[in-house]
Amino acid sequence: MTVQNLRNSPEIEVENLEISYGSVRTVGPISFSVTSGQQLTLLGPSGCGKTTTLRALAGLERPSGGDIRIGGRTMYSSAEGVNLPAEQRGLSMVFQSYAIWPHMTVYENVAFGLRVRRKSAAEIEEKVRGALDLVQMAKFADRHASQLSGGQQQRVALARACAFSPSVLLFDEPLSNLDAKLRADMRIELRELQHRLGVTSVYVTHDLEEALAMSDQIIVMRGGHIEQSGSPGEIYNFPRTDFVADFVGSSNLIRGRTRPDLAADGLIALETDAGHVIHGVAHGRRTAADAVMSVRTVHLRLDETSPPGKLNVWPVTVKRAVFLGDLTQVHLDWGGKELVVRRTALDGLAEGQQAFLSVDPQRCVLLESA
């Protein structure tokens, strides 16, 4: 096996994983894999099964069916009757509550995994210092957890998780307890750290920006199932279903009948009940007679004069404009249907004003029909 092969081989493989509580199945069956050194994010609203899936990977939750293989070792297999306990899986995890042990110092917290592995005193010292340096917490080594702020505890949890050089790191919403500003900083730091360590990681969050900023691959989950998986760009630009379109950033969903007769230049056309025709891309999806398109609110343009071009231009009436700071959110009446546009333009559009709405057909994405 060449080095190249090794790097691209899947580190984590999950096949037909199912998790049930009693007779209620909360997750699955789901299958996915994570390539060595990559970060996968499980994204979804609360109760979608993302944390349960992560805990099953860690060995903290007992699945009811399927297979989990990590680094070529079988961690769980219902067919073979294998279920390794968490302490034998050799993974590492950052918990939502950080789980910093209050009866130990920062140093002892970070050294725990190394002590469990019976490393020499010199190696423990070296690795703990290294890990604390990595998160810039070296000067707090002798403090107790109760003397740390939330952000500092977060860093210690991270240092503890990487100190014993695990090959796989699991993150359970590690940033959700931090304030917005700190969260934005930590997002970037975590991403850099993950690259530097080259560790394979699985990250759970309900925060879209976090997922987009940090992942190589995103899996959007809903009701225990995978709704869509792909790169951040793929997920954002080409949502597969109305759920993904709605959850991953705000979208306008436009319903209509397909008009194959108007399709041209590789575009498809939809006619709404109000008679508006909108052109968009199918992205390889099957077109049914009735279909839905997703258009992001930031991709819609509003002009006071008619823009050049013929496709996807409509006259509209402004119903309401809401100032949000970075953006202004404008609600439009588009032939009886309300559309939302978010724009950075400074010109204040007054209520009742006439304007022209336009959108690049490449930004109008056909959703898979149910």
């Binding site: 009757g81 302490e87 995890m93």
Partner: protein, 576 residues
């Protein structure tokens, strides 16, 4: 897997359903099975004895039937007594509890914190000491209060503590403080914004109280009422001390009488015990249902800072109510016992001529007392130490392990709560009498009895701390690769330290002062202190008994102080 035969697959499927046999599973299962055996074995014998209608001198029973239960209606007077006393005591306990809980949690009464701590003291005084003291204060002829009443020109007796309501009064004062704790918890957990919302909508103070506050605390108060009533049904010591001399029996004291008289009527006593146990079991079942469904106030589980009501000058009246409660339940009883124990012959007004240390000298000089004291302290330390280990492990199994069947373990462990200790000891008496290893009549049977009846106490104390600990603290150790034993030693135990220490103390105090089980199970060669004190009360002078009771209280206090000092020292050393 090299051999893929059908049996191998069936085996692996089976292995998946059963947890793998690790240290954790093995220890867990072992503890659970032993606990179940120790709890259920005596109950089996209790029920067996109640159904025994054969020759009373032959065991195992030669014939079974319900005749013993059929005899119960003949003792309707005892059943009525039990109901009257328990009901009166519950009502009094709820009135005290509600009033004090409301005053201390919701009004700006002076010295709120201090008073709140003082409310826990009656529980430590115990119903037995309370019964001695109130007997000295309120007996119709010799009671100090009645003497004072006659000295002031009153006729007859002002109060009669040996009447059903007198007994209920003592039970309510010393066993009812649990009502204060339970109702107080409900009032503490109430979101003040619920009341503020009513006020903002224009409801006045009284309307808010009637339409919002009361309905919100009602489920909690109802829960407390059921719990307290069940406790009172099984209450023993107050009725024993105050009722027995005038042949006033409740069900527990009647059982004790039937067992200790000659010839004993064991099957009848067993039938009474089973009936009592059945009633309490049903009541506690409803209590659990009520609690688990969650009264509306406690759902959020958040701790709120209750809004204090400005009551103006009325607060001095409320303050007086609290002080009166503390006086009646702590100060007056203790002062009475101290005063009586220091007099040659009890008199209303102590005088120098009457003063003596003789009773203390006698009590400490009696070999029997010294022997019983040593036994009690040894048993207390052993029960506390073993109990903390066992209940700690059980709490972990019930609330933290992912073992199947942990709910069943919880049920078994909490089972002794619905059996009065006297009834439990009764079953144990028979169980260990036929046990192949001869431990009946030794301290061992007392140790087993204490460990069993105090299981709920230990588990409740430790689990209340355990449930406050974030689960991920342990899970993190698990993911870090630490084995079960290592996790328990390095993470769970240090974090649980306050809970474990509290449980040790509570188990020690409870064992040293245990009466209901000890009085039936102790043998001539395994005397313990509390039953010895009760014997002294009936056989010797009240002055001597008061001295003995105070010595016991004092020794328990010293032992507690030493324990606290030692653990504080150890934790300072450990922290360095």
């Amino acid at each position: 897997m090299s051999v893929q035969t059908m049996p191998a697959q069936a085996l692996s499927a089976l292995r998946l359903r059963l947890p793998p046999l690790t240290t954790q599973t093995f220890v867990g299962l072992a503890v659970a099975i032993v606990t179940a055996a120790v709890v259920l074995y005596p109950i089996y014998y209790l029920i067996q004895a109640s159904l025994d209608v054969g020759d009373p001198d032959v065991r195992p029973p030669t014939a079974y039937g319900f005749d013993n239960f059929a005899l119960l209606p003949d003792y309707w007077e005892i059943l009525l007594n039990t109901l009257v006393v328990s009901f009166a005591a519950t009502v009094m306990a709820l009135v005290f509890g509600f009033l004090t809980a409301w005053i201390l949690n919701r009004t700006e009464v002076p010295l709120r914190r201090t008073l709140e701590q003082a409310m826990a003291v009656p529980y430590y005084v115990t119903p037995l000491l309370g019964a001695f003291a109130w007997s000295l204060l309120g007996a119709p002829e010799s009671g100090l209060i009645n003497q004072a009443w006659r000295a002031m020109g009153g006729q007859e007796a002002l109060i009669d503590i040996t009447s059903p309501y007198g007994i209920a009064w003592v039970m309510a004062l010393f066993e009812g403080s649990v009502a204060f704790v339970m109702i107080g918890a409900v009032m503490k957990s109430m979101d003040p914004s619920l009341e503020e919302a009513a006020q903002v909508m224009g409801a006045g103070r009284w309307r808010t109280m009637l339409r919002v506050t009361l309905p919100l605390v009602a489920p909690g108060v109802l829960g407390a009422a059921i719990f307290v009533f069940a406790e009172m049904l099984g209450s023993f010591s107050a009725a024993l001390v105050l009722g027995t001399p005038s042949r006033f029996y409740v069900i527990t004291t009647a059982m004790f009488q039937l067992v200790s008289q000659y010839p004993p009527r064991i099957p009848l006593a067993a039938a009474m015990g089973v009936s009592l146990f059945a009633v309490m079991f049903v009541m506690l079942f409803f209590y659990r249902r009520l609690i688990s469904r969650g009264s509306y106030v406690t759902v959020s589980g958040k701790a709120f800072r209750p809004r204090l009501m400005d009551v103006g000058p009325l607060r001095w009246v409320l303050f007086a109510v609290c002080i009166a409660y503390v006086l009646l339940s702590v100060v007056l009883p203790i002062l009475t016992l101290v005063s009586v124990s220091l007099q040659k012959v009890t008199a209303l007004v102590p005088s120098a001529a009457n003063f003596t240390f003789e009773h203390y000298r006698t009590a400490l000089g009696l070999n029997a007392v010294r022997y019983a004291m040593t036994n009690s302290l040894m048993l207390g330390a052993a029960t506390a130490t073993i109990g903390v280990l066992v209940t700690g492990l059980l709490s972990w199994l019930i609330y933290r392990s992912r073992l199947p069947g942990s709910g069943v373990i919880e049920y078994i462990v909490m089972f002794p709560q619905s059996v009065p200790r006297l009834v439990f000891a009764f079953g144990m008496m028979w169980a260990w009498l036929v046990f192949p290893i001869p431990i009946y009549g030794t301290l061992w049977v007392l140790l087993i009895a204490y460990l069993t009846v105090f299981l709920p106490l230990g588990v409740r104390t430790i689990s209340s701390v355990m449930l406050q600990l974030d689960k991920s603290l342990e899970e993190c150790g698990e993911v870090c690769g630490a084995s079960w034993g290592y996790r328990i030693r390095r993470i769970t135990m240090p974090l649980l330290r306050p809970g474990l220490l509290a449980a040790w103390l509570l188990l020690f105090i409870a064992s040293v002062r245990e009466l209901g089980a000890s009085i039936l199970l102790m043998g001539p060669n395994s005397k313990v202190l509390t039953p010895a004190i009760v014997e002294a009360w009936f056989a010797t002078s009240s002055e001597l008994t008061a001295a003995m009771a105070l010595i016991q209280t004092f020794v328990v206090g010293i032992a507690m102080a030493i324990f606290i000092a030692l653990t504080r020292r150890a934790s300072q050393l450990g922290g360095a």
